[in-house]
Subunit: 590 residues, 2 copies
């Protein structure tokens, strides 16, 4: 069975040495002293390692079941969920007014990585609740907030997002679910939603569905879509639960992975719903959930990679096969551990340099969200809006790749379910698909975010990289800033190509959108590694007591610069080949 | 449920227009006239599409079961296996002396792609038999051949390969299974083997295990390993089956995919075995099977990609979401089919340009094997020996990637098992692992094959590319030969880097071995696409009646050159970064 150890030290390094969070003037950040965050991370890490992780293979094997309309989660999920609730973890970064702990989103993200790494399917129940609660927090009336938030912040009630219908996925304008206005101001919701994660289960007293639907007589397409709160059980005035609402589970999907999470077909049959936010402005309200959810999914990609990596390292140190080409390193044993072989190292370093760079990127992104929400910083908001599709798309693509590489270290043992490596791959795979498939993220990035506010945010990003390199490019740091400059130049050239061709030939930009998302991701991780190199070089120069730790950071940074970042050259070439190679073939020739 | 249509026309194109097989002087090739091969391919394609493909999801869902020591295959496998046998397909390229049809290996490969694409798990029963029969054919005594081959060629008896033990995978020198010589010349085999594909089942009367074991008193390590024939049921002098031998199934593995194939733990308990080939020369005999098996596995990677691609194309043409950015293409419908979107095209073209290039590469490889075996051509043998790890490693890595991309086209529908796309991914994943994990292929390529015969074969390959480009680089062909030259130069530079550094620092070569395998693969497919471009340009110039077909080949070739082949630049940079980035981190810092 795979094991998991929370990477507390690595997270602390990013929070305090790289991001210097307690020195930030973002409201709430001054509390985030190293001892304080360490205590939180250690408690979360212990719960992740000891309670959530052991359930992960159980959930995979057992899955969820639907009997007589009732969904049951795998054995042990209820007890573990109670422990998570008792610790107050679901409300960690929710407002104190509603029973939360009022900490920054940053801390929710750091803890979220641990919980997701230990059990993605399990942690989704609480993650979706968080997203739904956030939407109510931003768009709900005072009464709605008072009714739902305290119970959702505690996870006594859980939440869901209902977007997809059988014929309507990415294109939500095609949606058919109807909402008929009632005399009392409520609506009757009717229709079918599919792929509803955590759609029903036995972990909570009530499930609060957020459902996109059309109000009869509204505009066609996406502009006629509104968002509704549809509770599984009606809520009485005194907060007690009333009758069952007209919502039921049609079936559970059989999936490649995340078996421990109930993916439901939900049938709404004149269910009572309450408008959340303005009429016909459902997409705006939903996007509050979706942006947060997208960051959360990027984090899941990183988390699965971390969990898989830890097990691959352990196996590579234990498994004895062959001898180091430079001479036996375990001469008394029958063979050397496979970590002596360069190609195993190459594989592990690919994973490690991605994971640690991605973690810094993710936590930086979470900090930008806090800067935007807590400090009202419009530039931070613009930057994180730009980078959200990159965080989602790049971190899940590379995260999935990392789980495949980790599985590969095990050889045949990786392919059998017994060792648990297959589950990491199968679970990680969904992160590339849900909350907007990665192709849609790329479209969002190139079709919308790049030009947002006149291209101001991408220019700010370029400027940030440029000034970092200028201010820090001397001496030993040149080994990190020089490759970063080259990669950033590739990214700028790609942006320039889109500017020159995109207006006249939109397909020239869209054909390169996926490559651009990756190119952007490589540069972001390059910036993160350059920042980490700076921190660790300074620590070593200042005689740190943690020499080995900082030397490892530098070695990993060098690996990233030498062997990952050069990918930007190929991506730029692909982009600059434009639309013709992609669009030339007539449809019937496929 | 996914469907499959055999790509007969594409295979015919490679056989006759690209490889010009019936014009070759390889013995047996003159029979391969277009009408003749078409008849074979159409019959095989029909069997694949109508009999094998419908069973593929059944096998995945049902899997194999072990009850009271007896393995049962999924419902329908027995009947389908009978149909394959009745058609004489297992013996297609086996000698007529033993009941085969005596056709070239090339034809076995072409048919094998179809069968594997339709059902990998199912087709493995016959594929492993073919490998075992080949080893007996090359290394067996006349009596062994007479006893086993006729029944194995017909698949009345099936075969297996028994190499791996729990502690001994890649490093077969660690193996412990023992063989004790008996007075009658036979041996008593005792030990445990794991991961034995098709180890037992209900499709055949007998199972002929080829088992690696140590003869007591022999040398230690790999030099003391011999190969044995161990039948499940003893064979009497008259060919009838006798008593059950001392071999039994310990358990079946639960795997990520290929559920329809029984992966067995095999226990040998003083089982009677017969030496195959010379004492202590087991590896040599086993390699006969393994080289063939490695090509076969590369072919499986291609086959899964093809099957997944076909379904992704069908879905992309049917699924209506969003509108083309250049204006509605299905104005009367609620939305356009998603194939109008550039990023869906990019995805499909990645798959298509890989698959068709890989098919040409694979069939060329099969031709080289025939040239080596049938015409005794040592240069062909050297070249295919060099390229075997590339065919195995590159085609399975890119084949797996293609199945993931095909799954991605389906969005959420790709992740649920109902549509069958998950199975292609899960089944394809094993091809990167078995018959030598791809890291081991890379080691074989760089550590052994490159320098074989003084580097003669890799030089011959470079020369082949160079002269092709020189002879064909004028006019329209320059668009194909120029990128190929650049890529080939990258490959040569990588080879040069290994020569300069590999002797002094073996890790400098081994650190880049995986990248080199891919770099080689990209160049091979580049050569194939340049050859196909030449053929199709000529066909168009000569007023072919198949304009659309050849124009599609050219568009796909252009895509490959513009968007796939540039990867060689990044791979070269990785290789040239040498051992330091890969090896710098101390083991304890992982």
């Amino acid at each position: 069975m795979p094991s998991y150890t929370a990477p507390t030290k690595d997270i602390q390094y990013v929070l305090h040495e790289v991001l210097n969070v307690s020195g930030s003037d973002i409201p709430g950040y001054s509390d985030l002293e190293p001892e304080f965050t360490e205590a939180i991370l250690e408690a979360a890490g212990q719960l992740a390692a000891e309670v959530i992780a052991p359930l992960n293979p159980v959930g995979d094997k057992e899955g969820c079941t639907l009997q007589n309309g009732v969904v049951s989660t795998p054995k042990g999920f209820r007890e573990a969920f109670e422990q998570v609730k008792e610790g107050g973890w679901p409300g960690l970064d929710m407002p104190e007014d509603f029973g939360g702990q009022g900490m920054p989103y940053l801390m929710g993200t750091a803890v979220g990585e641990m919980f997701s790494a230990a059990g993605q399917a399990f942690t989704m129940y609480q993650g979706l609740t968080h997203g739904a609660a956030s939407a109510i927090l931003v768009h709900g009336t005072d009464q709605q907030k008072a009714t739902y938030l305290p119970r959702m912040v505690s996870c006594d009630w859980t939440g869901t997002m209902n977007l997809t219908e059988p014929h309507s996925g990415t294109d939500l304008g095609l949606m058919r679910t109807k909402a008929e206005p009632q005399a009392d101001g409520s609506y009757r919701i009717s229709g079918q939603k599919i792929f509803i994660s955590a759609g029903d289960h036995d972990l909570s007293e009530n499930v609060i569905h957020l459902v996109l639907a059309r109000i009869a007589g509204g505009p066609e397409g996406i502009k006629g879509v509104s968002l509704f709160i549809v509770p599984k059980f009606m809520v009485n005035e005194d907060g007690s639960l009333g009758a069952r609402n007209g919502v039921s589970v049609g079936s559970l999907e059989e999936k490649m992975g995340i078996h421990g999470n109930a993916t439901c077909v939900m049938n709404y049959d004149e269910a009572t719903g309450y408008l959340l936010g303005a009429e016909h402005k459902g997409m705006r309200a939903m996007f509050t959930m979706m942006n947060e959810a997208r960051l959360g999914v990027g984090m899941q990609g990183l988390a699965q990679a971390e969990a898989a990596y830890q097990n691959a390292v352990a196996y590579a140190k234990e498994r004895l096969q062959g001898r180091a080409v430079t001479g036996a390193e375990n001469p008394d044993g029958p063979a050397d551990p496979i970590i002596v072989h360069p190609d195993i190292r190459r594989n592990l370093m690919d994973q490690k340099s991605f994971i640690e760079g991605a973690r810094a990127f993710m936590l930086w992104g979470a900090q930008l969200i806090d800067q935007s929400h807590r400090a009202g910083d419009a530039e931070a908001e613009g930057l994180i809006s730009l980078m959200t599709p990159v965080l989602k798309g790049f971190l899940t693509d590379k995260g999935f790749e990392a789980t495949v590489n980790a599985q590969q270290v095990f050889g045949g043992h990786g392919y059998i379910e017994e060792w648990g490596m297959s589950q990491f791959v199968r679970d990680a795979r969904i992160t590339q698909i849900y909350e907007g498939a990665n192709g849609v993220q790329a479209l969002d990035l190139v079709g919308r975010k790049l030009a947002q506010d006149g291209g101001k945010h991408v220019m700010a990003f370029f400027e940030m990289v440029k000034s970092f390199c200028k201010e820090n490019g001397e001496g030993e740091m040149a080994a990190f800033t020089d490759p970063l400059k080259t990669a950033s130049k590739d990214l700028q050239s790609a942006g320039m190509f889109f500017m020159q061709h995109g207006m006249k030939t939109p397909n020239a930009a869209l054909s390169g959108s996926y490559d651009f998302m990756h190119l952007f991701g490589y540069v972001c991780l390059g910036l993160m590694w350059a920042r980490m190199a700076k921190v660790s070089l300074a620590a070593l120069a200042n005689g740190t007591g943690e020499r080995a730790f900082h030397e490892a950071k530098l070695a990993t940074a060098r690996y990233y610069m030498a062997r990952q970042l050069p990918m930007t050259g190929t991506l730029l070439k692909r982009i600059e080949s434009g639309a013709d190679p992609v669009m030339a073939l007539p449809v019937e020739a496929f």
